[in-house]
């Protein structure tokens, strides 16, 4: 695997830094909820509790948790993750991203085969063409079973049309 050769690799973030990022994320979600809740009509009815109130309580909870996360980060309570290999992660995310972009262009089978191949590559499979071939066969079988037999609607591309509706 090419884990060691990934350029621009940084040492793993120390957990103190990660705690701030996590806390910022939590506070960010809380802010989104509070802004959204402020824009809702307050018809609490008999309960006196409208659609914006429970989200607001959750947002306050998130803010408290964000503060506690910062404190625990300063105390060094957050577990330090072991060193991670970034290349495999990028292969998988790349495969998922390509599937998202290509799904409606090339159909389920080809985009699925690409996802399969790139995931296999992330786990050390080489050469890539072999993984693509296995992926194509597997995706075709899945398409046949789920779209044709179980009536699940999967996006069809040129390949699906050629084989199943040709």
């Amino acid at each position: 695997m090419s884990q060691g050769s990934f350029p621009g690799r940084r040492p793993p973030t120390r957990s103190g830094g990660a705690a701030f990022i996590i806390a910022a994320g939590l506070a960010g979600i809380a802010a989104l909820i509070l802004v959204d809740a402020a824009g809702l009509k307050q018809d609490g009815g008999y309960a006196g509790v409208g659609p914006g109130d429970v989200p607001r309580i959750i947002a306050y909870g998130l803010l408290v948790l964000a503060v506690l996360t910062v404190i625990s980060g300063l105390k060094g309570d957050l577990p330090k993750p072991p060193r991670q290999a970034p290349a495999p992660v990028l292969w998988i995310l790349g495969g998922l991203g390509l599937q998202l972009v290509l799904l409606h262009v090339v159909g389920f089978v080809i985009s699925g085969a690409i996802l399969f191949a790139m995931t296999a590559r992330a786990f050390g499979q080489r050469p890539l063409w072999k993984a693509v071939a296995v992926g194509l066969v597997l995706a075709l079988v899945i398409y046949g079973i789920f779209d044709q037999l179980l009536q699940l609607n999967l996006p069809a591309g040129p390949l699906e049309r050629l084989i199943f509706r040709g």
């Binding site: 809702l40 009815g45 509790v49 659609p51 957050l78 998988i92 995931t119 992330a122 786990f123 789920f146």
Partner: protein, 504 residues
């Protein structure tokens, strides 16, 4: 009609060939995903939700329950042979089971796990059948405030009681609750956090969230590991147990069952808690303390019985109260809702036949499982020889299939990637996954009950503690929240973190 005759009727309907087929598919799939590392019963049920949309409700639900039971059986195989638990409830099994395998006693370890699972599954399912109607009677007297209190209790036990940090558990829970706010408010119809995106109106799909957190998060985490996991230990010798093995196992099976079932059936954590407690009990009661840590058969028999009994136990609050206490139960609840069924006391009145067929099918499924897992064990071990690139490639292909099947939009796939990265980050920093899923599913229900209770009381918040039942439940919740925190502060948190993991 009493439970016994209802159960007999259920058995009669469960003998229907189609129902038997669903049960068989369920237990087979369940065993397979239990054996395979990286996928558990929660994920599998989530993946199958969209696929079963057009199928028979009773059959599909029986299949889901079969997957849950099967996962508990299959998980032990991986624990014993690989020292990497196939699902979280088998973590303790790995302690003694893997030692036994290293000594060439893998066969008896697998046998005591499978037979123990069978004994426990049988007794616990019967207990489920006789306990459920009693709980239903009780449940009919509960109002919105009691339900709200019960849900608070479930929130606390799922997130804060076990594991090594209440802070991280609660953070996971609140992320789930925040995600649950997205979509149309059930009581007023107001659109919350949708930002004009039509796909968000229905809220965040359970399937998408569960698949992303469990499958994609796990795949990313495993791919990024620099040290590959242990190799497999070949099973040598026969899978049959000696007379001593039997004598040492049967008491552990029974003890495991009676520890597992109550823990599963109270909103107090899932199967992994039960298996840990059973292990602790066996270590205390054993006549061979010198063997513990070196391959004591009781340490496999007890926890394996306990996790199966707990799986049956979780069905009590799920079916009678509509209250999921583990990730798998939460996703099964989503399965019921998909078919327009709402678990709870009324389910036993409106869909009595379905409920009793389901319970009876579990007895049959249990029988199928012991056959699948003892004589056919070699087949399952072969599954472990699938190369990891193919295995994870296949998992990701299936993971996206579920989401694409529900809604093939870029928005949905984008959420899948986003939540997948979140799942990876959560694994990296020790945040538990199950509370997010439970929060997403139980959050809107808790909100409705809260607002309904407040409506009845004209906005008076003291109504929440004004009946003995709700006040007691909320007090217990507070105790479950605070006592573990104090234990961790006083340096006794180790016990709790050993019970950590994601209740499947």
């Amino acid at each position: 009609m009493d439970s016994f005759s209802l159960l007999m009727q259920g058995l009669a309907s469960a003998m229907d060939p189609m129902i038997l087929l669903y049960a068989l598919i369920g237990v087979t799939l369940g065993t397979a995903v239990g054996v395979l590392p990286g996928i558990g019963p929660a994920l599998t049920v989530a993946l199958l939700l969209p696929v079963t949309y057009g199928l028979d409700p009773a059959g599909s639900l029986i299949m889901f329950a079969g997957i849950y039971y099967g996962g508990m059986y299959g998980g032990s195989t991986t624990s014993i042979l690989l020292n990497t638990p196939g699902e979280s409830a088998s973590i303790v099994t790995a302690i003694e089971g893997n030692r036994m395998a290293r000594q060439g006693r893998g066969g008896p370890a697998l046998a005591t796990a499978a037979i123990g699972s069978f004994v426990a599954g049988l007794i616990a399912t019967l207990m489920l059948a006789f306990l459920a109607p009693q709980v239903v009677k009780l449940a009919l007297t509960l109002g919105p405030r009691e339900y709200f209190a019960l849900m608070v209790l479930a929130f606390v036990t799922v997130s804060a009681t076990f594991g090594d940090s209440a802070l991280r558990g609660l953070t996971s829970l609140f992320i789930g609750l925040a995600l649950a706010c997205v979509g149309i408010d059930g009581l007023t119809g107001a659109a919350r956090l949708t930002y004009g995106v039509p796909q968000l109106m229905d809220g965040i799909e359970t399937t998408t969230l569960a698949v992303a957190l469990f499958a994609i998060g796990e795949a990313l985490a495993v791919a990024a590991m620099l040290t590959p996991p242990d190799g497999m230990h070949k099973v040598t010798g026969s899978v049959s147990m000696t007379r001593t093995d039997w004598r040492r196992s049967w008491k552990a099976w029974l003890r495991g069952t009676f520890i597992g079932f109550p823990i599963g059936s109270m909103p107090a954590g899932g199967a992994d808690v039960a298996s840990f407690l059973s292990y602790a009990a066996e270590r205390k009661l054993t006549r061979h303390p010198e063997e513990f840590g070196k391959g004591a058969i009781e340490g496999v028999a007890g926890p394996e019985a306990a996790n199966n009994a707990a799986a049956a136990g979780t069905l009590v609050p799920l079916l009678t109260l509509g209250l999921p206490t583990t990730a798998t139960a939460a996703i099964m609840l989503a399965g019921f809702q998909q078919f327009g069924l709402q678990p709870g006391p009324l389910l036993f009145v409106m869909n009595a036949e379905l409920v009793w067929t389901l319970i009876a099918s579990l007895l049959i499924a249990n029988l199928m499982l012991v056959v699948l897992n003892l004589p056919l064990i070699g087949l399952w071990i072969k599954l472990l020889s699938i190369p990891r690139p193919w295995l994870y490639g296949g998992i990701l292909l299936f993971a996206t299939l579920g989401t694409i099947g529900v809604n093939p939009s870029p928005v949905e796939l984008g959420m899948l990637i986003l939540f997948g990265m979140m799942g990876y980050g959560m694994r990296l920093y020790g945040y538990p996954i199950a509370p997010v899923v439970v929060g997403l599913i139980l959050g809107p229900m808790a909100e409705q009950q809260l607002r309904r209770a407040l409506s009845i009381a004209q906005g008076d918040w003291t109504t929440l503690v004004s009946t003995p039942v709700s006040a007691t439940l909320l007090t217990i919740s507070a105790v479950f929240l605070i006592v573990p925190m104090l234990m961790r502060l006083r340096g006794r948190g180790k016990v709790l973190s050993q019970v950590a993991g994601d209740p499947d």
